[in-house]
């Protein structure tokens, strides 16, 4: 199991968090069709690190971007979601 360092609450057990989707699958409202389709229905799905959106659902309920390795599960960065983090 993972410990995720919530930017607001500190290090918490994974049970308190829900995975939502990857950062590159957020669909900007003005995206052209091909970009929207790619974001909705495809993933890079790397066998390595990726930027993921998690939510501290059973805690402060805030969204955050977690940079996490898909094989080792090592978390190298957690950032609170804000305009400068998401497209």
């Amino acid at each position: 199991m993972m410990q995720i360092a919530c930017p607001h609450c500190g290090s918490r057990a994974q049970q308190e968090f829900m995975y939502e989707r990857t950062v590159d699958s957020v669909v900007p409202l003005d995206a052209p069709t091909d970009k929207a389709m790619a974001a909705l229905f495809t993933r890079t799905n790397p066998r390595g690190p990726d930027d993921e959106i998690w939510r501290h659902t059973y805690g402060c309920r805030a969204w955050m971007v977690v940079t996490r390795h898909r094989v080792t599960h090592e978390i190298t960065a957690v950032r609170a979601v804000g305009p400068e983090v998401l497209p």
Partner: protein
């Protein structure tokens, strides 16, 4: 290849069983094959077998990174069934179920298929309505499905908690009596032996590291054992579909997650069917050795780690104990995990890719094992002819952009919510 039979066994009794030979060769790769299949799991080996047997092709290679059957073929709960509501799904899986019923004879290899019945429990009126609807949809296409009352379920599985105070009260069920389970390793080995005897080269410890291109077209693969040319290349790597397709520059409607299962110590027969439920994500069956096999939810976040997570395991076991309280005294022997290729509508993808000569078989989510024969049969057809078989035509890669998704659970394009 010598045929396995009671007679050969008997003859072996007089020569110290010295007649046993390796079931397949370990050839070095040739410089070029007509068809290369990436991935030596059940699906890849079945594809090679049917390419040789049904389509008469001989110059075929199966490239496997590790050892055959060492991925999800060896990491599942071996459940075989075709009880889906939607036409495209139940017709595909029913074709496979029919192949399962003759598979041991066809392969001359005992895959220990045991059609003991696949039982889905209903826990509420709403569950029973959904099960009736699913059963009716199956029966319309000639597939066996039988709605069971509470009493019938209690008689079939006496150890279920049928009390009114049960955590998950049981109102009835839907059974597919021709469903059941099989021996996973034997499926991979049987297909491997059959394919090898028809001239297919099974090359283990040979990882694909890149694709050779001529313009857009794929004309071969780079591997840890050198470059191998190919007329057509079929990806068949389950959880690693995203990674391998990424080597060709493709992004797929697939996210890889971990799915774990576990088995208890062996006990006398106590679970007669494969028990699944409409409301929970828990399935219980008893192996031929007597172990109770549990499966549960996937870990609902992306992962390529072939190891499970205790919180999901606890959830699966809690559900299992609520259904069958007698399991509480058993000790867990082993747990295992596979990397599942979760697609964006919960259905597989078998067909062409945007790149000429490159084909994809993946997106099996947590239901690939039962599909092994049908997947191999239809993928072989697709690779041999360049066009999909009618059964896998609905499962094309471009169905997402066409809005023609096959979403059995109706949960939308979110693999993490399946």
């Amino acid at each position: 290849m010598s045929r396995y039979s009671a007679f050969s066994l008997l003859r072996g009794a007089f020569n110290g069983q010295s007649h046993w030979k390796p079931a397949w060769r370990h050839p070095d790769p040739k410089p070029h094959y007509d068809i290369i299949i990436i991935g030596g799991g059940g699906h890849g080996l079945a594809t090679a077998y049917y390419l040789a047997k049904v389509h008469g092709l001989r110059n075929i290679a199966v490239l496997e990174k590790g050892w055959i059957g060492g991925g999800n073929t060896g990491r599942n709960t071996t459940i075989v069934r075709s009880n889906y509501r939607q036409d495209a799904l139940h017709n595909f899986f029913e074709f496979g179920l029919k192949l399962w019923h003759g598979l041991s004879d066809d392969l001359n290899y005992n895959v220990m298929f045991s059609p003991r019945g696949a039982l889905t429990l209903g826990h509420s009126d709403a569950d029973m309505v959904t099960l009736a609807q699913r059963g009716d949809a199956m029966r319309c296409d000639g597939i066996d499905a039988e709605l069971l009352t509470r009493d019938q379920v209690a008689k079939l599985e006496p150890l279920l908690d049928m009390s009114r105070t049960a955590r998950f009260p049981i109102e009835g069920g839907l059974i597919q009596r021709r469903g059941g389970s099989a021996r996973h390793d034997a499926v991979a080995w049987g297909y491997a032996r059959g394919a090898d005897s028809l001239g297919v080269d099974i090359i283990q410890k040979c990882e694909v590291t890149g694709f050779v291109r001529d313009g857009d077209a794929i004309v071969g693969v780079e591997t840890t054992r050198g470059r191998i040319g190919a007329g057509r290349v079929g990806i068949c790597v389950a959880g690693h579909s995203g990674h391998v397709a990424g080597l060709a520059g493709l992004r797929l409607p697939i996210e890889s997650q971990t799915l774990q299962a576990m088995v208890t110590e062996g006990v006398k027969p106590m679970i007669n069917t494969v028990i699944m439920t409409q409301a929970l994500h828990c399935y219980i069956s008893q192996s031929d050795k007597g172990g109770i096999v549990f499966g549960g939810d996937p870990d609902n976040w992306p992962s390529y780690a072939q190891r499970g997570n205790p919180m999901i395991m606890e959830n699966a076991v809690a559900q299992g104990l609520a259904l069958v309280p007698a399991l509480s005294r058993l000790r867990m022997l082993r747990t295992w995990s596979g990397v599942t290729d979760m697609s964006f509508d919960g259905s597989p993808i078998i067909g062409e890719t945007p790149l000429p000569n490159l084909y994809l078989n993946g997106g099996w989510c947590y239901g690939g094992f039962k599909a092994t024969p049908a997947s191999g049969w239809t993928y072989a057809h697709t690779l041999a002819t360049g066009k999909p078989h009618p059964l896998n035509a609905p499962f094309s890669l471009d169905r997402f952009e066409r809005g023609a998704t096959i979403d059995e659970t109706g949960s939308g394009p979110m693999p993490s919510s399946r």
